[in-house]
């Protein structure tokens, strides 16, 4: 089956407030004409208020962290306890417990952290969608001092969206079909 081609407009702005305005403008336009499929914002720094503009992002990274850490704790404890059990007949215990909790807590603690860190990194890669190739319309200006607005549009009505992007003071607009 042939994949449907996607049409993108990419506007570059020199101010975050202008980018905020253009997103509101595009949302209004979409309500009237149903032309916008998706909006993405590119910026050189983090803007925590971006969720107010684009809507909430579902990124439960902390769940990965939590379950990763628990898995790490269990695995590390099983490793040390299992090793002690395996050596039960080989290593004299001298009346001490085969699985001594205070000693094993140290390795369990390290295992918890190690797996917690690894699972957090895995979650980061999943939810940020990386690694990936750079998009055709990506401009290095958005890693310097400008804000980029990417809009996926219905190809036939891209003029309407372009006009909205220009109206809010776009420094540059790129158009790509892929």
């Amino acid at each position: 089956m042939r994949r449907r081609k996607k049409h993108f407009l990419f506007g570059v702005y020199d101010d975050f407030d202008k980018a905020r305005d253009v997103v509101s403008e595009l949302k209004m336009l979409d309500l009237k004409e149903m032309v916008v499929d998706n909006i993405e914002l590119y910026s050189p720094i983090e803007h925590p208020e971006v969720e107010e503009i684009l809507g909430e992002f579902h990124q439960p990274i902390q769940r990965f962290t939590f379950f990763g850490a628990i898995t790490g704790a269990i695995c590390a404890f099983l490793l040390v306890a299992g090793a002690a059990q395996a050596m039960f007949t080989v290593q004299p215990q001298g009346g001490k417990p085969v699985i001594p909790l205070p000693m094993d807590i140290v390795i369990t603690y390290e295992g918890t952290i190690m797996f917690g860190v690894y699972s957090t990194i895995i979650a980061f890669l999943i939810y940020s969608g990386m690694p990936k190739r750079l998009k055709k319309y990506y401009t290095q200006k958005v890693s310097e001092d400008q804000i980029g607005i990417e809009v996926e549009v219905v190809a036939e009505k891209s003029d309407l969206v372009r006009a909205a992007l220009e109206k809010c003071g776009a420094v540059e607009i790129r158009e790509v079909t892929q």
Partner: protein
């Protein structure tokens, strides 16, 4: 000094300045790198000699089986602490002055660990048996002894090294993308691979921030555990002067102290070599110095309380070792430590010293010397007068140990300088964030001032009418 300094730097200029540091450092950079390389070669020659002849050439004999290599191991592990730990704590407490300096501090952590990790291998003598610490059973199905603090060390350091590398790498991804966008040739390929397609999308930033904070939450307890475990190498034994309950917090405070001093040294060095005067300001040095001073006082308190607890316990073995330390053959090490690490930090109480970069540079070297002497006086003097009087002997480290010790400083500095030449040592996106927020806060203050003036004028007009 204004709280809003650095607010007027243009974002494009931040990129230009930091990227320029990857291209054209001062010529002193190459001189220092050359000296470090020579030191490393000397160290390699000394290790090769020791490898062929055995540990005897390092003068490691009964009772001094633990000597300079272990002191160096503890010193470098300690130095690794401040970078990641302080970066993580300052990130969680949202202290924005960390932003221009945290990157090189985290890199310092990484290279300190890499330097520290070499010493147990050298100390072992039989380098080829190093893999025995890995957690797998041998041919007789005997596992490594997980009850030994030495194996805890291996686990803790592996966890700390990998977590610190990931923390450093994740924090660097947006900057690697900037480098990718501006580089050519082999650098372009390297940065493209390492930036894994970062484009600064909103979803990337949100995932990035969450991840970074979560990693910081892990690294704080991890860093504390690592040096506590290193302290356990000593405290879990029954040696007088080692078997001390307060050793773990004492080691952690000492680690933070020496790490902070190292941050100051590298701060001044990078500021000069890479021309970062606009970013590594006296305001930041002032705060770093105050933090170092506070940590120095914590370390001093723990050090003195350790002496006090030995004195009040009236344990004859502990007391004798303590007296030997102060008045025996190693006395100059202990007095030197007290001079460099207890008396010298009081210089940081003066603003004039804190604001003088080169004064801070030399002072930080003195503090590090003090902390290195502290590591040595923990390891060697107690062994000279242990529980077995027939083994008592005063042995000073030989030329091989000293050469490898000096080479480790060359190795660390060489790796660090290469890192700073290949990767941005100042975080561009975080400095931009700092500038952005300071500019916003400044304009807010200006607006408030204007409104106050306006209100007063209105009141005056109302009074007149």
């Amino acid at each position: 000094m204004s709280d809003y300094s650095m607010k007027d730097i243009e974002w494009a200029k931040i990129n230009r300045d930091v990227l320029a540091s990857l291209e054209s450092p001062r010529k002193e950079f190459w001189i220092v790198l050359g000296v470090c390389l020579v030191l490393v070669l000397c160290g390699v020659a000394a290790e090769a000699y020791q490898y062929n002849e055995g540990l005897g050439v390092a003068l490691m004999d009964r009772p001094h089986f633990w000597q300079l290599y272990i002191s160096n191991f503890v010193f470098w592990i300690g130095m690794s602490h401040s970078g990641t730990l302080l970066s993580a704590i300052l990130l969680l407490t949202q202290a924005d002055w960390r932003k221009p300096i945290y990157r090189f501090a985290e890199a310092m952590t990484l290279f300190s660990i890499l330097t520290a990790a070499i010493f147990p291998v050298i100390h072992l003598g039989r380098v080829w048996n190093m893999y025995w610490v890995l957690p797998y059973p041998n041919e007789r199905t005997i596992w490594p002894n997980f009850r030994s603090p030495l194996l805890w060390d291996a686990a803790a350091i592996t966890t700390y090294a990998t977590s610190s590398i990931l923390f450093l790498y994740v924090g660097m991804i947006p900057d690697l993308a900037i480098c990718r966008d501006n580089a050519k040739g082999w650098r372009k390929k390297l940065y493209t691979a390492l930036s894994i397609g970062w484009m600064g999308r909103a979803s990337e930033w949100l995932a990035f921030r969450k991840t970074y904070v979560l990693l910081a939450c892990f690294l704080v307890p991890l860093a504390v555990s690592v040096h506590s475990i290193v302290a356990s190498d000593f405290a879990m034994s029954i040696m007088p002067d080692w078997h001390i309950t307060s050793f773990p917090p004492y080691f952690v405070a000492g680690a933070l102290y020496s790490g902070c001093a190292a941050i100051i040294t590298l701060f001044v060095l990078l500021r000069y070599v890479f021309k970062f005067e606009a970013y590594m300001t006296t305001e930041i040095m002032d705060k770093t110095a105050k933090l170092t001073f506070a940590i120095a006082m914590v370390w001093n308190y723990l050090n003195l309380s350790e002496y006090a607890s030995i004195w009040y316990s009236n344990d004859m073995f502990e007391k004798e070792v303590l007296m030997e330390k102060f008045f025996g053959p190693y006395h100059w090490v202990v007095w030197g430590m007290l001079l460099c690490a207890t008396v010298a930090p009081f210089a940081m109480a003066f603003k004039k010293v804190r604001h003088n970069m080169w004064a801070m540079f030399w002072l930080s070297l003195v503090l590090q010397l003090g902390m290195w002497l502290e590591r040595f006086q923990i390891v060697s003097p107690p062994l000279a007068s242990n529980h077995e009087p027939w083994t008592w002997a005063v042995v000073w480290p030989g030329l091989v140990q000293l050469t490898i010790t000096v080479a480790s400083f060359g190795w660390f500095t060489m790796l660090f300088l290469i890192f700073c030449k290949v990767f941005p040592s100042v975080s561009m996106y975080e400095v931009k964030e700092m500038v952005f927020h300071r500019r916003k806060a400044s304009s807010r203050t200006e607006m408030e001032d204007l409104n106050k003036v306006k209100d007063e004028m209105i009141k005056q007009e109302e009074g007149l009418s």
